[in-house]
């Protein structure tokens, strides 16, 4: 239903300020009204009113009514210009500073968790190196007086080769990298800038003896001579000067695939960096050429079985006897008990890799076969044994016919 319009009479009868209207007449006549304080003054922003007299002044900086000085809001234009200028100038200054600054040189030992993601310079000796040409990765262990750290790049080996600065073990280097600390992978240095690796020095090795190696030789290049005590196995060999042993690290990722053949009793001269570890001292050669045959007059004593005791543990000895029993291993190979008339001793373990390479090895299973063995005295479950370590150290002298 449409709304009814009020008729003319009823409309005129209603006056805005009449007694029936409910509205109050204004306090002042219109002529005396204050022009500056309008009916809607409360809607006006404070900034447009004079704080002294309350009149509307708009954009004036000085009130035309009372003369008060009006504080204006800060222009945003200034801030805009500050932000643009500050950004550009600041970035330029940062860039200039960044191109001039050299990442701080730190000691490896001072690195802690808060150094994570920091770019630093370290200086030290390369004590280990692993190259993977297929993947393009390079991994170095760099050591200084305070500690050592692994430095690696997963793909920059070609770049290093192109620049000709692939360091060798023993080289003193200075490099820039980013520290990465992880609870699983430990602390490492990310070699993300191949051109920042400088080979400072390839020091000449110092000739010394295995028994004279000391803590001052750690991380230094040395040349030692000795006799092979344990031939290469699991990337390591052991040489000796009959007083002390020295582990020789033969990682193909460092020295290449051409690892020289080392047989027990042979003399060798090894050049490399000495590091200290749980096995005592280890020497890490830079390449296969750093291992050369050497005429070393170190003889292996031939001993009667009865003379071998727990005091000889670790000694290199030579024994001769006849086979008594053979104990086969499930995985192949076995151990042989021999006797020389003075006593019995176990020759082993002859793992399948050793046993299979002994000529006429079936004769070892036959009682009465005479054999000569060079090896290291060890013990297993309280029983002494002589471990040959390689097939070359087991010689079948004369097979005896069974009666």
């Amino acid at each position: 239903m449409a709304e009814e319009r009020p008729d003319q009479e009823s409309y005129q009868a209603e006056k805005p300020f009449g007694p029936d209207s409910g509205l109050e007449p204004p306090d002042k006549p219109i002529d005396d009204a204050d022009d500056s304080v309008g009916i809607n003054a409360s809607d006006l922003s404070e900034e447009t009113l004079c704080p002294s007299c309350g009149r509307f002044v708009g954009a004036y900086e000085k009130c035309p009514y009372c003369g008060a000085t009006l504080h204006k809001r800060m222009s945003l234009l200034i801030w805009k210009r500050i932000s643009v200028g500050g950004t550009i100038l600041g970035l330029l200054v940062m860039w200039f500073a960044a191109t001039r600054m050299t990442p701080s040189l730190i000691q490896i030992g001072e690195i802690q968790e808060t150094y994570n993601n920091a770019q630093v310079t370290i200086r030290g000796t390369v004590v280990d190196r692993r190259l993977d040409p297929d993947r393009g990765s390079i991994s170095l262990t760099v050591a200084d007086e305070s500690g050592s750290i692994g430095a690696r790049s997963f793909s920059a080996l070609p770049e290093f080769k192109k620049l000709g600065n692939v360091p060798r073990v023993g080289d003193k280097i200075e490099t820039v990298g980013t520290i990465q600390i992880d609870a699983v992978y430990g602390t490492s240095l990310n070699l993300d800038l191949p051109h920042r690796l400088k080979i400072e020095e390839s020091p000449e090795p110092v000739k010394t003896e295995i028994s004279r190696l000391k803590s001052a030789d750690v991380n230094k290049m040395v040349t030692v001579t000795g006799m092979v005590k344990h031939p290469p196995r699991f990337g390591k060999a052991v040489i000796t000067d009959r007083v002390n042993d020295l582990v020789v690290a033969l990682d193909p990722r460092n020295i290449g695939e051409e690892i020289p053949v080392l047989n027990t009793g042979e003399g060798v001269e090894v050049t490399g960096v000495v590091i200290s570890g749980v096995e005592g001292y280890t020497i890490i050669p830079a390449s296969g050429d750093d291992i050369q045959p050497y005429d070393v007059t170190i003889s292996i004593p031939e001993m009667a079985i009865k003379d071998i005791s727990m005091a000889n543990l670790g000694d290199l000895v030579e024994v001769e006897g006849t086979t008594q029993t053979f104990t086969a291993f499930r995985s192949g190979g076995g151990s042989v008990t021999i006797s020389d008339g003075t006593g019995r001793i176990i020759v082993g373990p002859l793992f399948a890799s050793i046993f299979d390479n002994i000529p006429d090895n079936h004769k070892l299973k036959v009682r009465g076969t005479r054999i000569r063995v060079k090896g290291t005295v060890a013990q297993f479950r309280g029983e002494l044994q002589v471990g040959p370590g390689s097939a070359e150290n087991v010689t079948i002298i004369t097979p005896e016919k069974q009666q």
Partner: protein
């Protein structure tokens, strides 16, 4: 797991502390984690060495409470972090309508729904994520490049293009966009410098981005709040909110998508994830938008840190590190057991529920506070706190105050000043603040593509 009660107490402590701490504008859990780690370096009793999970539980409580609680400074005090930049405008609308409390609770409800999303989909993370990572991992750089292109292009068209001359029309149409592109480019340049040079003291390397982010988002927001002199009308605190289940669902979905994207992709933050998701779902209701941003923030922060706990044996190359918190804590411990993952997840649920309750409580007293104290004064106080924290961060890490350390503090403040100027650009020129995220997303993209060293050399940073 030994002494799980102790671990739970640490989680509770982190949640409650975060619940009150993150009400202060511009305090970010990453900044605070730097302070805590620095203090722990000097006071080892803070967290038991033999129970490294206490550290993680404490920070997980903080992360969850931050995801929900940072609504308060964003909405009531106009100081958003990078994940909340998109909440501010609709949030400001709620404030001007006197519905600030309702807006905050809407965002908080979104956060709670985000945690429920994580609860439902967690079992799939173990199996889907490693396989997804194998497929997507090698392609991450161009995925990020696409996101960069999207970030820039999704701001178009903008401006009315009205004017008398062609120049005025051109300027009208392109001024804001140009400002956005300039902000993006300058942020990327700054990020490249930061990623290739440690501009903070070496001992502070783990907080190398601290001054940058504080300047870009925190200090610039506070300056903006100080300059604005906006008057906030009286706020109404109601007992219910204007929401139905359909709207809730519409807000939940885009937030979950955005938050998951942000949690998984490196360099992509909650704000960008929310932007993508918001466009993908194309909803127009402010309630949906505000809620989706709340979901996105919590899924992003919590999901990122939670990914760190996905047992590493599910991944081919070890665990997945996403986000500053995982990176900051990875030197200390790497969770490996499935049991640890579920325990931490229980902490997430507990922290989320407690934080939601604290949000209601804190919103009410903040509303009373801003009614009595002009928020410019609060902004001044927050600015002072933030500047002091940044200045003294090297001293906290070093454990001493001397000339060299104070000089380092000035160095850090200098970087913060530059990033503050950069962060003010989008505020004054009305472009997206998410463009500032180019500071991490562009360097990461370039680095992943393999062009990082080359570009660094070109710029003299190699």
């Amino acid at each position: 797991m030994e002494n799980w009660i102790v671990i739970l107490l640490y989680a509770l402590a982190g949640t409650v502390l975060g619940g009150f701490l993150f009400v202060i504008p511009s305090i970010h859990f990453l900044n605070f984690s730097g302070v805590v780690i620095a203090l722990w370096g000097h006071y080892h009793g803070l967290f038991p060495i033999h129970q490294p999970l206490t550290l993680f539980a404490f920070f997980m409580g903080m992360v969850v409470s931050f995801g929900i609680m940072n609504t308060i400074p964003s909405m009531f005090l106009g100081a958003p972090d990078e994940s909340a930049v998109f909440v501010v405008l609709p949030g400001a609308k709620y404030m001007l309508q006197g519905k600030g409390y309702e807006g905050a609770m809407l965002t908080g409800l979104g956060g709670l729904l985000g945690i429920f999303f994580l609860a439902i989909f967690t079992p799939f993370f173990f199996f889907a994520l490693p396989k997804l990572h194998v497929i997507l991992g090698p392609h991450m750089h161009w995925i990020l490049a696409l996101i960069i292109v999207y970030m820039l292009m999704s701001e178009w068209p903008k401006g009315t293009g009205k004017g008398d001359t062609w120049w005025e029309k051109f300027k009208g149409a392109w001024a804001n966009l140009f400002a956005g592109i300039v902000t993006f480019v300058l942020s990327a340049f700054m990020g490249f410098i930061i990623f290739n040079r440690t501009m903070v003291p070496v001992k502070m390397g783990f907080q190398g981005l601290l001054p940058v982010f504080v300047g870009l988002f925190a200090v610039s927001s506070l300056i903006s709040a100080i300059l604005s002199k906006q008057k906030i009308p009286k706020q109404h605190v109601g007992n219910d909110i204007d929401l139905d289940y359909k709207t809730m669902w519409k807000g939940w979905m885009p937030g979950c998508i955005g938050g998951t994207l942000a949690a998984y992709l490196p360099g992509v933050t909650g704000g960008i994830g929310g932007l993508i998701a918001g466009h993908a779902c194309a909803q127009r209701d402010d309630r949906i938008f505000v809620m989706s941003q709340g979901v996105s923030k919590v899924v992003y922060y919590t999901g990122q840190f939670l990914l760190f706990f996905v047992p590493s044996y599910f991944f081919l190359k070890g665990g997945l590190k996403r986000g500053g918190m995982a990176i900051n804590l990875s030197p200390f411990y790497k969770p490996v057991l499935l049991q640890e993952y579920f325990f931490i997840f229980g902490i997430v649920i507990m922290a989320g529920c407690i934080s939601f309750l604290l949000l209601s409580f804190n919103s009410k007293w903040i509303i009373k506070l801003i009614a009595k104290v002009p928020y410019q004064k609060l902004s001044y106080a927050s600015l002072a706190i933030v500047v002091v924290m940044v200045f003294f961060m090297p001293a906290m890490i070093e454990g001493t105050v001397n000339g060299a350390v104070l000089l380092s503090g000035l160095q850090v403040i200098g970087v913060m000043c530059v990033s503050t100027c950069l962060g003010l650009l989008p505020i004054f020129y009305h472009c997206r603040r998410s463009n500032c995220m180019a500071v991490i997303i562009v360097p990461i993209c370039i680095s992943m593509s393999g062009y990082g060293p080359g570009l660094a050399k070109l710029l003299g940073l190699g």
